[in-house]
């Protein structure tokens, strides 16, 4: 089981029951989403600082995903600050309209995005994939009232998790085999690179589906009973 983002640690957050953690994540997300402007910034800052301290995670790692968002965030802020037009412009020039409303909205979107990204970063780094799955499974359980087959859903998610490292290796093997046959993934014209996608993607899907086929036969032979059919 690969855990690309999990950081081993011993904090309160690491040891916390994953279901509670997941629900906590959802609640914190909602709190952030309804807080705006100055008050919102303070609430978000307090919440995040507390969580970072509780998690004992290195700050650099927590803030890492923000790096790739940087450009995106600037764009969003500018688009709102400069172009949001509902009549109240402080300064306007053609389609550019700088307004309090626009700046405020841009700010809030950026604030929410940063806060939620950090929240999810903390969550992912303190929770193993198995725990995440369990947390989601338990959170979804009440939906059984609506005849939604939550057991099947969590089975699907665990199988998906188990498949990931397997498929990763398969694709690596396929990539090497095609490179050996002369495929060009890293150099050459755009055309050759495009043509090289098919020899990578098609076998990847075939081998993935073949494994799925074999696994489904195996679990059926071992007496798998679906949730869905038990609702009928």
């Amino acid at each position: 089981m690969i855990d690309l983002t999990y950081q081993t640690g011993d904090s309160i957050l690491h040891r916390m029951n994953p279901t509670h953690k997941f629900l906590g994540l959802l609640i914190c997300t909602i709190i952030i989403l309804v807080s705006k402007n100055l008050a919102g910034t303070i609430i978000a800052a307090v919440l995040i600082t507390t969580l970072i301290l509780l998690s004992k995670l290195p700050i650099k790692k927590v803030f890492a995903p923000l790096k790739s968002l940087f450009f995106f965030l600037i764009m969003i802020f500018l688009m709102n600050a400069l172009f949001f037009n509902n009549g109240d412009c402080l300064y306007s020039y053609h389609s550019i309209c700088i307004s309090y409303k626009g700046i405020e909205q841009g700010y809030n979107i950026v604030l929410h995005t940063i806060a939620i990204t950090i929240l999810s970063s903390i969550f992912i780094r303190t929770t193993t994939s198995i725990e995440i799955m369990r947390g989601i499974e338990n959170t979804l359980r009440p939906l059984r009232i609506f005849h939604i087959p939550t057991k099947d859903i969590s089975l699907i998610m665990s199988i998906a998790l188990q498949f990931i490292p397997v498929f990763f290796n398969d694709i690596d093997r396929i990539r090497k085999a095609q490179i050996a046959r002369g495929a060009n993934f890293n150099k050459g014209s755009i055309i050759t690179r495009i043509q090289s996608i098919f020899p990578l993607v098609i076998p990847a899907f075939i081998s993935a589906f073949r494994r799925a086929d074999e696994l489904s036969t195996a679990i059926e032979a071992r007496g798998f009973q679906s949730d869905y059919e038990s609702f009928k």
Binding site: D170, K187, I202, P203
Partner: protein
């Protein structure tokens, strides 16, 4: 053609050495078997020679030139050396056999007639009927046919050197025999072959020399009869002995450094006839 591995050490990131100071000289036209217990580094050795793992120290030299000199291994190298991975049928993607084999020819600058000729040659060499099979999808073939198709895909470019990783995995007796006969033909025609296998029977049947790896180091690089001579050592290295050797030892038969079945039968006949004279 000179293929040398000099003091090569290969390590995956953050792990122990998979290959430790490997020195290997492969002569032209040789059939070299590579064996060892699971996890000893056989596949990594093959992949290193094929240009997929740059050694952390040491070199892989083809005709004196370091294949890892530039960032990407050259296409001309790929024309001279082909590798068939384990379970190669996982690489198929074309809608018919003709195009699947032809994929390897895309980077060879030759005329369409030349490409057609080479594809037909490859299909013949592996025993796939051209008329029946031309338009069949690779996915519709049987296990043995798929394996032979994968072999065709590699030999279509007429490589000087052919690397194979466990080419017999999952094949029945017939399938295995077909592959062995194809490899023997290639060997007879001058192709240098490096084959990873854990089956001592096949190795003693086809290999000129066998390299035994243990924990990333070469323990043996010798003819089959000397590699498989000592039962205790073979057990320790996890490689087993061929049936011909085991049986010959049991009945006190001298195989004269040749562990092949044909020699075994010959020597057995002689002994039987001598005993009944």
């Amino acid at each position: 053609m000179q293929l040398e591995i000099k003091h090569a050490t290969v390590r995956y990131s953050n792990s122990d050495k998979i290959l430790d100071n490997i020195d290997l000289n492969i002569t032209e036209g040789q059939f070299l078997g590579i064996t060892g217990k699971a996890g000893c580094g056989k596949t990594t050795l093959l992949e290193t020679i094929a240009g997929f793992h740059k050694p952390e120290s040491g070199f892989v030299l083809l005709d004196g030139q370091n294949i890892y000199e530039k960032r990407f291994v050259s296409q001309s190298f790929r024309k001279r050396l082909q590798i068939v991975f384990q379970f190669p049928e996982n690489q198929f993607f074309e809608s018919d056999i003709w195009n699947e084999i032809g994929f390897g020819l895309k980077n060879i600058s030759s005329s369409p007639e030349e490409k057609e000729r080479k594809t037909i040659e490859a299909m013949l060499a592996v025993g796939l009927d051209i008329n029946e099979m031309k338009n069949v999808s690779p996915f519709a073939l049987s296990g043995g046919q798929k394996r032979r198709l994968a072999l065709a895909c590699a030999i279509v470019v007429s490589p000087e050197i052919l690397l194979l990783d466990e080419p017999f995995s999952g094949l029945d007796g017939d399938g295995q025999n077909q592959i062995i006969s194809i490899l023997k033909d290639l060997h007879r025609n001058g192709t240098t072959i490096l084959m990873v296998s854990h089956d001592p029977n096949v190795l003693s049947e086809v290999a000129d020399k066998i390299v035994v790896l243990d924990a990333g180091k070469i323990q043996f690089n010798d003819i089959p009869s000397r590699v498989f001579a000592d039962k205790y050592l073979c057990d320790k290295l996890g490689i087993g002995q061929p049936e011909t050797k085991i049986t010959a030892d049991l009945i006190g038969l001298d195989l004269d450094e040749d562990l092949t079945y044909s020699n075994f039968i010959k020597k057995l006949e002689k002994k039987y006839l001598a005993a009944h004279d």
